[in-house]
Symmetry: none
DNA sequence: TATGAATGAGTATTCATTCAT
DNA sequence: CATGAATGAATACTCATTCAT
C-alpha cells in the first residue's frame, strides 16, 4: 500500500522548520529553494503541501500570532489591576525578545497586504484583528464589572487595536519609542477612564 | 544664484508635471521613463534634478501633504465645537474626493517605508507626523481653554495621530470602514473628555 | 491469458473515461493526476497500463481516428457522384459538430509530432495516413471504373491527403476558411478530372 | 549629445548575429541569455530592440522567408517550361542545403502557431502565404498565356500552397519523401493540366 | 496489483541608474 | 546642460515519472 502521510502534520513540520529562516531573511528575500533545502525536501514537495509561497508565510505567521494571542490571553487572568493589564497588553508586542524579529515579519506582511494584498490576506488580518479585539474587550469588561473603569471604555477598544497597529508602523517609519508612547497614552487615558471614587 | 533658483523651479516643474501619472500608476508602477517623457525631458536629465526615483516621489508626496496640512489648518479656525473639529480632522483624509487617490499613494509610500525605508524617509515621516500632531494640539488646547474638554486630552493627542495612521492601514488590510470607526471612537472618547457642566 | 484480456480491457476503460477531459483540456493541459482521478485509479496505476502520457493520448486519438475512418468509409458506398464523395470526404473533418474539438486535439498532436515527435508517433501517423489514402483510392477507383473521372486521378490521391493535412494547419495558422478552400479546389480539380462526355 | 543609434539597423544586426544559434538550438531551446551573449550585448539591451523572444524569432524567420521568396521569384523569369517552374517551385524548399535547417525552424514556428499562436503570428503566416501564392499565380498565368496549361489551373493554385505546407509537415510526421511526392503529384497533375495539342 | 509521495530542472523579463558623448 | 543606450540581477512554479510499501 501507499505511504500514508499526515498532510496536516507535514505542513506544520515544514512551516516550523522554516520559522527561523523566515525571521532571518524576511518574506521577500526568502526563496522556495531555501525553504525546500531547510525543510530537507524537494522544491516540488513544497507545493504538495502549500499552494504557493504566500501560503507558507501565512502558516508561519499564523503560528506567531497564535502564540502571541495565547500570551495575551494569559493577561486576562492575571491578578493585577485593569490598568496594568492594559499596559501588559500593549507592551507585550514590544518586548525585547525574539518577538522583535516576528514584528519585522508582521510589518513586512502588512506592507505586502497594503500593496499587493489578496482577499485572503484581508480575511486573515480581519480575523486576527477580531481575536485581539475580543481579548481587550474581555479585559475591559472585567474592569467595568469590577468598577475600576467607566463603561464608555468599551467604545474605544476597537480604536485601541487600531492604535496598536499604527504604533507598530510608526516604530519603524517615524522612529517612535513604543513604550514611551504607550505609557503616555495609557496614563492619560486612564485619567479619563478611571472612576473617581467620590470622597 | 539665479541658476540655483532655476534648478529649484525645474524640480518643482518636473514634480508638478508628474503628479497625475503618479496618482494614476502608483509609486512602483511609475517608471523613470514615464516621468522623463511626461516632463518632456530625457531620462538622464531627471537625475540632474533628483537624486533618485524616491526623491521625485518625495517631492510630489510633499505637495500632497502640504496641501492636506493647509486644509487641516483651516479647521482650527472654524467656528464650530472642539468635538466637531476633531471629527473634521479625522474625516478629512477619508473624504470621497481625489484625496482618495492621494491616500493610495501615501499608503504605498508607507508600505515602502515599512520595508525598505531609508533614514530619509523616516525623517520625512517624522516631520510630517509632528506637523499634524501640532495642529491637533492646537485644536485640543483651544478646547481646553474654552472649557469644552478636560486637560488630560493633551496626553492622548499623539496617540490619536497614531490611531489615524493605523486606520489608514486597516482600511485596506482589514476592510475597516473609516467613518464608522472614527465616529464610534470619537463619540466614546468625548464622553470621557467633555466636561460635565455644573453639578 | 484472462489477465491479458483484462489488461487490454482496462486500457480501453481508462482511455474511454478520459476522452472528454482530453477534449476539454487538450493534450498539454491534461495531467496524469486528472487522468488518474477521472479513471478512478491511482497515478501509479496509470503506468501499469500505459507506458507514458503519450501512450494514453495515442489510445484516445486512435479511437477518434477510427471513428472518423468509419464514417469516411460510409461515404464510399453512398449512392452519389464521385465528385460529391470527394466533397464529403474533405468536408467531413470540418463539420461543425464535436469533431471540431477532436480536430483541435489532432492539431495539437500534430504540433507535438512536428517538434518532439518520437518514432512511434511517426509510425502512428504513417499508418493513419495510409488508411485514409486507401479510402480515397477506393472512391477514386470507383469513379474511374464508372467512367466519371479520368485515370490520372489516382496519381494525385496521395497529394490530396497532404492537402487535407495542410488545410488543417492553415485553418489555424493562416485563418483559412476550410469549406471555401475545399470548394474552390475541388471544383477546379473536377473541371480537369471529369471526362467530357463526347459531343 | 546622446549617442545616436540606428534602431532598425541594430535590430537587424542582432537578428543576423543570432541566425546560426537559432538554427542550431531551435526556437524553444534558444534562451535570451544565449541571444545576448551571441550578439555581444546585455540581456536588457535585447529588450530595447525587441518586444520579446517571439519578436526576435520573427525577425530571423522573416529573413529566411524573404530570402526564400526572392529565390522563388527568380524561378518566374527562368527560360524553362511552366511544368519545370512548378517543379522548381516545390523542390526549392527541400533542397539539401542549409534550407533544411531553416525548414526545421519554420516547422517549429508552425507548431507554436498551432498551439499557443498569437494573432500576430497568424497575420504573419497569412501574409507569407499570400506572397507565395502570388508567385505561383504568376507562374501559372504565364503558362496559361503561353498556352502551355489550361485556364483551370488558377483555381488550384491556393490548394497547391496548402499542399506544400502539408508536405513540410508530413516529411517529419509521416516520413514522406518530399521529392517523390512532389514528382508523383506534379506529373499526374500536368497530365490533366497540359493542353493536348489538337491532333 | 495498486498506490501516491517525492522529485527538480529550467527561463523570460523589468527598470533604476550610469556615463560617454 | 542634456541625453538615452546599455545594463544584469534575481525567482516562482509545474508535472511526468518512479519506487518503496
Amino acid at each position: 500500500m501507499a505511504i500514508v502521510v499526515d498532510k496536516e502534520k507535514k505542513r506544520t513540520d515544514i512551516a516550523c522548520a522554516c520559522k527561523e529562516i523566515l525571521l532571518e531573511y524576511g518574506i521577500k528575500n526568502l526563496t522556495i529553494s531555501q525553504i525546500a533545502k531547510t525543510a530537507g525536501i524537494g522544491k516540488g514537495t513544497v507545493y504538495e503541501y502549500f499552494k504557493n509561497k504566500e501560503d507558507i508565510v501565512f502558516e508561519i505567521i499564523t503560528t506567531f500570532i497564535t502564540e502571541h494571542e495565547k500570551e495575551l490571553n494569559n493577561i486576562v487572568n492575571l491578578d493585577i489591576s485593569t490598568k496594568e493589564k492594559f499596559f501588559h497588553f500593549f507592551y507585550h508586542m514590544h518586548k525585547a525578545n525574539n518577538s522583535h524579529q516576528q514584528l519585522n515579519i508582521y510589518r513586512e506582511f502588512l506592507a505586502i497586504s497594503m500593496t499587493t494584498g489578496t482577499q485572503e490576506m484581508i480575511d486573515f488580518s480581519t480575523a486576527c484583528r477580531e481575536r485581539f479585539t475580543n481579548i481587550l474587550h474581555q479585559i475591559t469588561q472585567e474592569g467595568i464589572d469590577k468598577g475600576e473603569i467607566r463603561e464608555e471604555a468599551q467604545g474605544i477598544v476597537s480604536a485601541l487595536i487600531t492604535f496598536e497597529l499604527g504604533l507598530i508602523i510608526e516604530v519603524h517609519t517615524a522612529a517612535r519609542n513604543p513604550k514611551e508612547d504607550i505609557e503616555t497614552f495609557l496614563n492619560s487615558l486612564f485619567l479619563l477612564l478611571e472612576k473617581k471614587e467620590k470622597k
